[in-house]
Every structure is written in C-alpha cells, then in structure tokens.
Symmetry: C2
Subunit: 199 residues, 2 copies
C-alpha cells in the first residue's frame, strides 16, 4: 500500500518540528448529545500499524472511557482534528470517523493495538487512568491516587485507544502570497483524490 | 462591571506569551448541516469594547461570510474554542454562542464594531476579503486579485466580525501533579460560578 498523498506533507511538517514536542498536540472537535460542538487538545501517538507491520492512515490517540469525548463518540462517531504547525505555518484539518478501542474490544488485533498504546505511554501517562472520574467535581485530595504507577503490561480498564480514520484532509499553507490550499478526499474504495482550492 | 473570574487567568497566559504571536491562534469547533463537527485555526482579536468603552466578555475574531464556518454558524450558533498555551501548559476551552456581524447588521453599534475590526486588520489581512470564494476549486491565477489593498475605512462586503459570547470555560493546568482543572459556568443573569473538577 502506498502512502496517501497528504501523508508526505504531514511527515515533512513533523520532521521540521522534531525539536518541539508540543507540535504533536492538536485539537479534536466532536459533537455532544445536545448537538453542540466540543473541542480539546489531544496528543498524536503515531499511525496505527497493522498486524503485518504495514502502516495505516489511522491516527492514534489515547483517552479515558469516562471522558466527555468518549461519550460523544459513542453517540456521534464523526470528528475533525485541527493541527497547526507554528514554524512552517501550515494547517491540516483531518476529518473522519473515530473508533474507540475499549477494554471490551472483541477483535484480538485491536486489543493488541490497545495494549501497545498502553505500553507506549510513560509511567505518568499511565497513572492518569487511575485518577478519579474526569470532569466530575474534585474528589477529596486523599482520594487521588499518587501511588505506584500501573503495570506496564496490563492496561487499566478505563484506558482506550482512540483511532481517527481520515476521509478528508484540508491542507493550508499560510506562507506565500497568495496562500495555497489543497483538499484531499477519500472515496469508498479508500482511493484519495486531491484538488487545489481557494484559501 | 467586574471582570469574569476566568479572565484573570487568560490575561496572565496572554501576558506570559507576548513574545509568541502564534499564542493568539486558537481552534474553533462548529457543527455542519450534516451534524458533523468542523475545526479550524482562527486568530484572537481581543475582547469587544462596548460603546461606553467598557470591555465585555465577548471574544472577537474575523471571518469571510463565504467561509464554511459562517454557514455553520447561521445554522447552529454554538461553538467551542480550544486555546492551548505552550509555555505555561494551560488550556482554556471556551464554549458559547457565536454571533456573525455581517454587512447587513442592523444595530449601529455593532456596525461600528465591525468597522473597527476592519480597521484593526493589516493591509494583507484586509486584502484576503478580495480573494476568490474560499473553499471553492482554485480560480485561474489571473483571477486572484493582488492589487491595491482595500480602503481602510470601508469594510468589503464579505468581511464579518465574529463574536463568541462565552457561557462555559474549562481551564486546565497540566503543570503540577495532580493537574488542576476548574469549570466556570455562566447563568442566565450573566453571573459566573466556578467549581474545581477532576482533570
């Protein structure tokens, strides 16, 4: 499988921002049960590897099954991430379907991907899944677990791998006059086409 | 009118990032006619001044009436911006109602605010409103106007001031172990209450 046409542009931006860890932070929009949008920063964890080690186009993130975004996704699986790179002044808007891989995931290769996602976290990243229910009124500080980090080989039950399967990518380059912008769209056979559009 | 309680935290972050112009870039989520979320980077242009020169809590942005976000807002006025500050590692999620101030705006003080928003743009910022229809297939390059910048005193008809009237602010501080997070909610009388919540 050859890489999707927008991947080379994203890879170039990532390599030009290697010295800035925050360049892997991007914003995910979802829609709540009330039809209103929500938006928060999440951390890009690379692309999903298939069992045969080939890369897919699915972006990996992690989340807590008790978080607002997890309940949004169970109700409306569509999401759009906005990823702005400060040095190059390029923006990627990646829209697609979100898949939540929970502790109940029946597919063994997805369960394996979830385990790998857990192992790739730092100890402090794993510890967050032992914290009190996110978004709820603060617990007594005595209830906040700051003990031993959780076992590296056994994901805690609240831990989810979150996958974004892209169906559309809007790539904007602010440098240059005029600016340039290209829209990539994926058809049902997973073939990508692209078109230059007005910025 | 005293400042809303979350404003001092936002002001502190802005002052700590004065050397980084991109700290005024944030991401706005809206919902499309198909019920799917959209997300893009926009530039914070300060808070709206009232005619009596008092500051409001309304965040100012600018947009083109032909843009996707303008049609989203006309259909569903709810939005949430996500604003992440890299040096302090603090995030503000500001949800509320979006108001589009177009060339047809009947309220004279809002028309005046639109004119001020236009004047505060740079020449190159104003020129973008003379460009071809955003998001449409690229025009012939001969159609792209790169001539004289538009008149500073007369907003072009596509220019809109965009206001976000906040109703909820979720402030997360990633520094510290455990992290801290506070939710501010505005009631119908525009009184704010706050509560510490789990990160």
């Amino acid at each position: 499988m050859s890489l999707s046409p927008w991947r080379s542009h994203l890879a170039r931006n990532l390599s030009q921002h290697l010295s800035q860890p925050q360049s892997r932070y991007l914003q995910l929009a979802t829609v709540g049960m009330d039809g209103r949008p929500a938006n928060r920063t999440i951390v890009f964890r690379g692309f999903l590897d298939r069992p045969d080690q080939l890369k897919t186009d699915q972006l990996k993130f992690v989340t807590d099954v008790r978080s607002q975004k997890a309940s949004h996704i169970q109700h409306n699986p569509y999401g759009e991430v906005c990823w702005y790179f400060t040095k190059t002044r390029e923006q990627f808007r990646i829209a697609g379907t979100l898949h939540l891989i929970t502790s109940d995931e029946p597919n063994p290769s997805m369960q394996q991907a979830r385990r790998i996602g857990w192992q790739e976290l730092s100890d402090s990243g794993r510890s967050q899944f032992a914290w009190a229910d996110p978004g709820q009124p603060s617990a007594d500080s005595s209830e906040i677990s700051l003990g031993e980090p959780p076992d590296r080989d056994h994901p805690l039950k609240h831990f989810c791998l979150l996958l974004l399967e892209p169906t559309q990518v809007d790539h904007l380059e602010l440098r240059g006059n005029p600016q340039s912008r290209c829209l990539y769209v994926c058809d049902l056979d997973r073939n990508w086409s692209s078109q230059s559009i007005n910025p």
